[in-house]
């Protein structure tokens, strides 16, 4: 960056505004992207990042503003025009056909519909040339369904490169990757920009943005609130710009674990395409046990087991000192297990029911809320008012449909339902996924308070920062097997990352004894 010559701008966005109903998703956004740079778009969920990129890629038409690529205006509302102009997009959720090979997926849509011959050989050569050049190694004949998440992302990148994209847009690309896979991605991106490509990197993670971007644009409430050069800024400055105020992260005080509230003794099971193999763990009172791992490595089976949705095929599950056999969700609730589900939309709440009804979803049969099969409407409403105030659920009344709540408030509603019953054991699955910084801090603080009051907490998360902040001990789950527990003081991202990708550290391991 020492040269004085301004690098040419390949993409410029001027005055983009977009409104959805009452929500101003984008407000007069102007940005420019230079050739050979990574521009990070940093912002919380709902700041308008994805909307802006969807406008750029022609999924939406902006209410106002214009886009130019290489000095030529880009016609609005046409993804094919965007592709022709050299824009390629890698979505947060992959858009691959699982039943086709890598080569098929890459070629898909680039061949003419009525062409009698498929130019497979050229395609294969071109693919391997691209793969070599950017270090994106994938077997072109592998079925995408059998690939790991990191490999799938490489296929997505290859797909975009195959279409001669010069401008790449990556929407939260690291959300599903291990730290090592993310590192590999960053190397690929560096390779790309040194080849003259330009990258827009969308993220809400500060350390990634600081690691990869040359320039950083921060979005808040749909508007650009600042543009920074990486060299001249700091994480704190970016965080403050992103949230609009300073956010204090909660601190965990050292406590001694008490009586065990949850024990798994060599539990194996298979449920919903997820499995556990000889899982052994112990959660004590005053303790947060974190489970790290890339999604799809058995977290679902573990969570469903403790939720009561499935039973061990072998091994033993002990909840609050009592062996649990044939348990159902209702039993688990009655036994005092508070469960924060992974997906609050499908498992956590019933969208079309009211806030007050969702708050008693697990307890409507308790005598305080029911009498002879009749719901006691007034106590249910009163209960809702109390909890909404205590857990700061905003933007709704007890009679409001739950679907109108924001993600953060919905999660607060679930926290209220679960934690207000003072459960001695809490299962928290991905408790802050999709939440903004403020709501995340609130959830973290509630989890730590619950721990301080004596509950044991099993925290399953893919967010290493979250695990390192909240957990007393961390175990890593890989293909259904749990690593030995690591005290958080001895855990670091590199070590956890290795375990997450399946590499075992040498040395004594208590959790592996059963796996013979």
């Amino acid at each position: 960056m020492s040269s004085n010559v301004q690098p040419p701008s390949v993409l410029s966005v001027r005055g983009i505004s977009k409104r959805f109903g009452d929500i101003q998703a984008n407000r007069d956004i102007s940005l420019s992207l230079n050739a050979g740079e990574v521009l990070a778009l940093l912002g919380e969920n709902g700041a308008g990042k994805t909307t802006l990129m969807s406008i750029l890629f022609g999924h939406y038409v902006a209410d106002a503003g214009s886009i130019e690529v290489n000095g030529r205006p880009l016609p609005p509302g046409s993804p094919s025009a965007a592709i022709d102009a050299g824009i390629g997009m890698v979505h947060q959720h992959f858009t691959l056909a699982d039943n086709l090979s890598v080569l098929d997926n890459v070629v898909l849509g680039t061949e003419r519909l009525w062409s009698p011959f498929q130019r497979r050989r050229q395609a294969r050569d071109r693919l391997s040339a691209l793969a070599d050049r950017f270090g994106l190694n994938v077997d072109p004949d592998a079925r995408v369904g059998n690939l790991s998440v990191g490999e799938r992302q490489r296929v997505e990148l290859l797909k975009v490169l195959y279409r001669d994209a010069r401008i790449l847009i990556l929407d939260e690309p690291t959300a599903v990757l291990t730290p090592q896979e993310a590192e590999a991605l960053f190397q690929t991106l560096t390779e790309m920009v040194s080849n003259g490509l330009s990258v827009i990197f969308i993220s809400h993670k500060l350390n990634e943005v600081m690691a990869i971007a040359q320039r950083i644009a921060v979005l808040r409430h749909g508007a650009v609130v600042g543009e920074y050069n990486r060299a001249d800024t700091s994480r704190t400055e970016l965080a403050t710009a992103m949230v609009g105020r300073e956010v204090a992260s909660p601190t965990r005080t050292q406590m001694d674990a008490g009586e065990p509230v949850l024990e798994l003794k060599s539990v194996s099971l298979r449920h919903n395409n997820s499995r556990l193999l000889h899982a052994t763990l112990k959660v004590g009172q005053h303790e947060v046990l974190g489970i790290a791992g890339v999604s799809g490595n058995g977290q679902t089976a573990l969570a469903d087991l403790v939720s009561g949705l499935c039973v061990p095929e072998s091994g033993e599950l002990v909840v609050l000192g009592r062996p649990a056999g044939g348990h159902t969700p209702a039993h688990m609730v009655a036994a005092g297990v508070g469960r924060i589900p992974e997906d609050r939309h499908t498992a956590g709440v019933v969208h079309e029911m009211t806030v007050s009804e969702n708050l008693v979803l697990e307890s409507y049969r308790q005598p305080e809320f029911s009498r002879f099969g009749w719901l006691r409407v007034r106590p249910i409403l009163e209960h809702a008012r109390t909890l909404m105030e205590r857990y700061d659920v905003r933007g709704a009344g007890p009679d409001t449909r739950t679907s109108s709540l924001s993600g953060g408030n919905m999660q607060k509603l679930i926290l209220a339902r679960v934690l207000s019953r003072r459960p001695p054991l809490v299962l928290a699955c991905q408790p802050t996924r999709g939440l903004d910084v403020g709501a995340t801090a609130y959830v973290h603080q509630q989890i730590l308070e619950t721990r301080n009051q004596g509950s044991g907490i099993l925290l399953i998360s893919e967010d290493l920062d979250e695990l390192l902040t909240l957990s007393d001990r961390i175990m890593v789950i890989y293909q259904g097997e749990l690593s030995p527990a690591i005290p958080t003081e001895q855990a670091d991202r590199a070590r956890l990352g290795l375990l997450m990708s399946g590499q075992r550290t040498t040395g004594p391991s208590s959790g592996r004894d059963h796996a013979a």
């Binding site: 969700p329 499908t346 019933v350 969208h351 009804e357 009749w374």
Partner: protein, 349 residues
């Protein structure tokens, strides 16, 4: 053009949408009337007269609405729990069979006991009939749309067998009909010199009762939770299978009551044609009402009015009374579209 969710829908918008939809539907059907070569205003005037224009017309419409209230409620309850009960017709006939069995000599009690006994026996029969496909759904994941639909034909053929065979009334001069219901089992008339009977009141009470159950009891809470989000209900520990079974018993029982109102009220004896498809029309009635138990009463009267009115329209201006089916269908589509427009607004770009 794309749909965009409305952040809030006002009460007036919600209330006016179905009314406007019905007006739009009638306007659309106007084209069909014109196409058939009939004068539009005269046709609609005849329809209105035939549906509501006189004491007789009104009483006929309400008589026809009575079974539709029950079959509509049956569908509303079942669909709320995402139990796709298409078997209202079969359950109606099962109820009619039970009513005939109890009401033609199995027992004889004073009317104030006899009528509840008939309703209970019928509801039991209808509920049990729906129980079979429901258990298949729960245990073996057999699609209940298919099983309930096909059971309709099984039941109807069984009725056929009984009416041509063992149950045939020797005094019926060869017609396939069962013996008449004993006097104590007949539903009393509500208005002199009309066919309007006690069944209408029973239907109104049933719809209020269903509304109360859905709104204020465990069972209703469970039915709504299971129907709106089954995974969340499972996760919360709601007994999903028990809820679906209860829903089936309730839904089948309600549909069966329509059989009682026809056998013991409108006709007085069981024939093969007590229902011109009330079970199927109940689906349209429930959907028009947005599955709301109280709305079912309104939409049942509306649909009955269309059918009755179309008969007299057909006589007055000489076009087919099949137009009633078209009108109900178009009204249903219009109401569905309007409910979409209440939730979303259309935007360009």
């Amino acid at each position: 053009m794309r749909l965009e969710p409305r952040t809030e829908a006002t009460f007036w918008l919600r209330a006016m949408a179905p009314i406007l939809a019905v007006i739009v539907a009638l306007a659309l059907c106007g084209f069909l009337i014109l196409w058939a070569g009939a004068p539009l205003l005269e046709a609609y005037a005849a329809l209105a007269r035939g549906a509501l224009g006189s004491r007789f017309a009104l009483s006929e419409t309400l008589t026809r609405a009575t079974p539709l209230i029950f079959t509509g409620l049956a569908v509303a309850v079942a669909f709320r729990a995402k139990l796709w009960n298409i078997g209202g017709e079969g359950q109606l006939y099962a109820g009619a069979l039970a009513a005939t069995w109890v009401g033609t000599g199995a027992i004889d009690l004073p009317a104030y006991l006899m009528i509840p006994a008939i309703f209970s026996a019928a509801a039991l029969a209808g509920g049990l009939l729906l129980l079979l496909p429901t258990l298949l759904k729960i245990r073996l994941k057999v699609d209940e749309v298919v099983t309930t639909l096909l059971l309709n034909f099984v039941v109807l053929l069984f009725v056929n067998y009984l009416l041509f065979g063992p149950w045939k009334d020797p005094l019926s001069m060869g017609w396939p009909q069962a013996a008449p219901i004993v006097d104590s089992g007949l539903l009393p008339n509500l208005v002199d010199r009309t066919r309007l009977h006690f069944g209408l009141l029973a239907g109104l009470v049933a719809s209020v009762a269903v509304w109360i159950v859905m709104r204020f009891t465990h069972w209703g809470f469970e039915i709504r939770a299971v129907g709106l989000n089954t995974p969340a209900a499972v996760f919360a520990g709601i007994p999903v299978n028990a809820t679906v079974v209860r829903t089936a018993l309730l839904s089948g029982g309600l549909a069966a009551c329509a059989g009682v109102t026809e056998v013991c009220g409108t006709k007085g004896y069981l024939t093969l044609d007590i229902s011109p498809g009330f079970g199927y029309t109940g689906i349209a009635v429930a959907m028009l009402a947005g599955l709301h138990p109280l709305g079912v009463v309104v939409s049942a009267v509306f649909v009955a009015a269309i059918y009755n009115g179309a008969d007299s329209m057909s006589r007055a201006v000489g076009i087919s009374n099949y137009l009633a089916d078209v009108m109900t269908a178009v009204a249903l589509l219009a109401v569905l579209v309007s409910s979409l427009l209440v939730q979303y607004r259309i935007r360009r770009g």
